[in-house]
Symmetry: C2
Subunit: 156 residues, 2 copies
Amino acid sequence: MQRAGAVRPSVFMERALALAAQAAAYGEVPVGAILVDSVTGSIVAEAHNRTETDSDATAHAEILVLRAGGAKLGSPRLGSCDLYVTLEPCPMCAAAIALARLRRVYFAAFDPKGGGVDHGPRIFEQPTCHHRPEVYGGVGEVEAAALLRRFFAERR
Amino acid sequence: MQRAGAVRPSVFMERALALAAQAAAYGEVPVGAILVDSVTGSIVAEAHNRTETDSDATAHAEILVLRAGGAKLGSPRLGSCDLYVTLEPCPMCAAAIALARLRRVYFAAFDPKGGGVDHGPRIFEQPTCHHRPEVYGGVGEVEAAALLRRFFAERR
């Protein structure tokens, strides 16, 4: 993984951050994700967390864009796509990203307690992981972390 | 994890095996899963793999029953439920099972190449895994492994 540090978020990460802010308004943990076709540069799918809204433990933003993107492009394998997500993917989402064979993953905030890319099982570094996307962490980190801090502070 | 060895599959695992056989008929990797309410003993949801049919890399049998079960019971958290699945869950599905807080997981065949419970990242043994279900592996192993062997042999 490459750490992007204090790099300014791209247009796509800005959109993912806007979706994360929407999630908070619904009482969902503020995480947003965008799936982009790397060939055309167009957005294929976008989502925020919907676990409570949908009563679905798997309804993380990343899973939702992989599902919608696969349906739209007609294949479970999305090798030409890049993911922009505002929080380091958890182990479930990291493993799903490997199954979908994404080209690149850009994430904003790091998640030492629940992350599965740079923390925990470090899914892409497992010998049994069959696909390793390029990963860039920390793009838009400041904005994403502020959203999460505010959300949890308001619930304490 | 407890290894059930040559124990005969239960009624629920028999049903999961029947779903796995259906999956093969659709050209899907033959894996079936059942979600059972441990209090009432009734089946909450059942599914087989649908990754190709749905163009969805996340459409493993386990994910599909967690989604359907959450919608049916009105909560992403399914702490009273047990899962019966014909193959050792992959890291994505194991992490989803932890997020859904399932009570028990019974699986049939072991999966050294793609499993995430007894192999690979051993998701439930990670210090950052927030919920560990009871796990019983090998229930119906012979039947499940035979289905998988036949499926891959026919495609070579």
